[in-house]
Symmetry: C2
Subunit: 441 residues, 2 copies
């Protein structure tokens, strides 16, 4: 039997505690897969005073990253703290002291990936980050390794469990956004500060990481156009349902004329299709490759043990040497990969519009006239009488058109005297069809 | 740049041709993922005279496996012929002459896996077989690597594209089994001899392979109880639909009291659940792990390019050295893993029965009496009058009970004077629920 591998765990929050539990609780099983045993040598926490109920002796826990980075017996470090700092400095410290790094920190990879990958490569170390996108779904390995023979055409996914939990709860319970968010926070499903989850930032981080693997370009995540779910209300959900759709926060990256169109936004997805059936904290990813056709993955995108499952798989990959090969021998994590210019790249699609209009003659003619002048044609429409003469929602489903055309039309519509209040615009993703592979005999 | 890696392709049928096309057509892309170029050095075919339209010079094609096995410049061989012989002898010849082997041949792995794995390990070579189960879905990597930290609780899947194509066509078109099979054969979706596809053998091969990876035991595929789809008719489909179900050929392996219950059979799956929505040549696999919870994968399970996608991913894995690590450093393909004894291990489930009975008083009392004596209780029931006095189908949905109890009851029912003809019995798989992971903080 080989010597045990000693691992340092940085951060004993939800994920870090799960990783310690899994490494200790499933030790026999993990030993079989790694060919040697893996032990938690030390852990580092921010607050030493916090009570913990973990299978880890107290004298192995410290508040100083150097107890791990300077310990030469430790070869692998699991970096399981969130945010950019001190995570970035810790990663650099660990790499510079010879540790291979495994992390679940998507913000860190999305923001500092090129810098850290470059440093790791120069030092002959590896960084593994399966847990940084879609939690327990092995999507990083799928794209980076299993689909290596494919030119990827598109990625589409529900990548943020918190916002999916909120949207599907709103749908099931008919409650409004604020009430569901509050309940989710009380139940521990949403952070005290949920901004990055609900405004699309977290999904944009993950989409940037997956796109790097899939398309071989570095995507500055902040360039990805994104809209959050804060504006979604029961009225929008009811109109969507009437048309046969549900609302999900969807992240998309697709090749359009050799460039990349990317977006994170709430979107209408047809009832019965896989994304619409993705509920609660589940994540889902659909990928189209030129050889494999369409692949679909569904699983828990967050939570202690699903995320720990991905982190420990990466630790095993690092221990056996596969992570080093992925990192060093292949060009998929090249720090010098070109930055993608995604501004202005659009995918024509249908749009769902809700426009608060005055209930008076001529309104329809005015709105449809403006849409028409911008090249946006109407596929279907719902309008009810207000009865009171007050504003009523005019709900429109457009034919396929570029998002920018709709934006321009809505800007003009917003200035119209017949409109009272803000307009809503959601893309409609109903092109879920079996994508057949390219070449056949 | 590293030297190119020279690959030999054994078999230029549908999959072999796809592999050559992909290696040539996507060479730049593949080079980036492999860190070096991969070239098809030679191919071996059975029939040299057959015209081929491939990007491969004729003088590189021969009918003798030794042109590959004895060529020292070739380090990787893709073994893409079906059946057991000469595939087994070819695999041995290739391994003994220092080639790493990649194969899509599930019968070969299911039948001779332990022998071949053992030989490869002794010779310091690797065998990769992602394409042997579920075609383009990266399920071998998912179970063998990505879920390595999990104790797997169950695998359930649609693993045979041909039978799924036939069942979903029957459903959509209302045509009978024989007519759909004929049409599938004419369109090239089913083999001239479809026996292994429609009788459950092919799915059993794949289930045996996945179970080896998931549960660490070797399962003799022939021990897996299996029923094919030949007996499925429109009547069964109509009754299933009336109860809210569709019929699919489902392969299942699950831990029951520390042992494995395995089965391949047509089953009722609830409309709206992922397996019921798996149509045509698509495959689907659902896996439950103790840490990750339930993961679901969906993609094309057969066809030239999806299978080639998996084969080329394995070639890349072999070229960069990951396959060797998986094969040599981990215990997951241990030839000495214990053989699973699955006989007599049962998972209680609901059953759907169709019994042709005479339309006369007392029949219900007799049938329900027999079921009751065997501990099978009735959950719901459909019976129509015949009008003619002839036999009518009595359709019963049972509560959960062991399959063997239903079998014994049906044997007795078959001998009853009120029964005219054979009974049908399908398990009902309606326990699709979000499987939550084990430990939470």
């Amino acid at each position: 039997m080989n010597e045990p591998v000693r691992v340092g765990v940085v951060g004993l929050g939800t994920v870090g505690s799960g990783v310690v539990r899994l490494l200790v609780g499933s030790a026999d099983h993990i030993t079989r897969h790694a060919g040697r045993s893996i032990v938690v040598e030390k852990a580092v926490v921010r607050d030493l005073g916090k009570p913990r109920n973990l299978p880890l002796a107290e004298d192995r826990i410290s508040a100083d990253i150097r107890t791990i980075s300077r310990d030469e017996s430790i070869t692998v470090a699991a970096l399981l703290v969130g945010g950019l700092e001190p995570a970035r400095s810790m990663a650099i410290d660990l790499l510079e002291h010879g540790k291979d790094v495994v992390t679940a920190n998507k913000a860190l990879i999305a923001e500092h990936g090129p810098e850290l990958f470059d440093l790791a490569r120069r030092l002959g170390r590896s960084i593994a980050f399966e847990a940084a996108a879609a939690g327990g779904i092995p999507i990083v390995a799928a794209i980076g390794q299993c689909l290596a023979a494919n030119q990827i055409e598109s990625i589409r996914g529900i990548l943020n469990g918190t916002s999916n939990f909120i949207l599907s709860k709103m749908e099931e319970e008919g409650a409004d956004y604020a009430a569901v968010l509050r309940a989710a926070q009380e139940a521990g499903y949403a952070e005290a500060d949920p901004a990055m989850d609900v405004d699309g930032t977290d999904a944009a981080h993950k989409l940037a990481i997956l796109s790097h693997l899939a398309f071989g370009v570095w995507v500055p995540w902040a360039d990805i156009p994104r809209t959050g779910i804060e504006q979604i209300d029961q009225g929008l959900m009811a109109y969507a349902a009437k048309l046969g759709y549900r609302i999900r926060l969807v992240a998309t990256a697709a090749r359009v004329d050799g460039r990349l169109a990317m977006r994170v936004s709430p979107a209408l997805v047809k009832v019965g299709t896989p994304l619409a059936e993705t509920r609660g904290a589940y994540n889902a990813v659909s990928i189209v490759g030129d050889a494999v056709g369409r692949l679909f993955f569904h699983g828990l995108g967050a939570g202690q043990m699903p995320t720990a499952s991905a982190v420990v798989a990466d630790i095993i990959d690092t221990v056996v040497g596969r992570a080093a090969i992925t990192f060093q021998a292949t060009g998929i994590l090249d720090a010098e990969s070109p930055a993608a210019r995604i501004a202005g790249v659009e995918m024509p699609q249908r749009h769902f519009l809700r426009i608060p209009v005055l209930d008076r003659p001529g309104v329809m003619a005015e709105i449809s006239g403006i849409l028409g002048r911008h090249g946006v044609s109407i596929a279907s429409l719902i309008q009810h009488e207000s009865g009171t003469g007050g504003p009523v929602p005019l709900v429109i489903m457009t034919h396929h058109c570029p998002p920018s055309a709709v934006e321009k039309a809505l800007a003009e519509i917003g200035r119209s005297a017949v409109v009272r209040g803000g307009c809503d615009c959601l893309p409609v993703l109903d092109d879920w069809r079996p994508a057949e592979p390219r070449q056949e005999a």
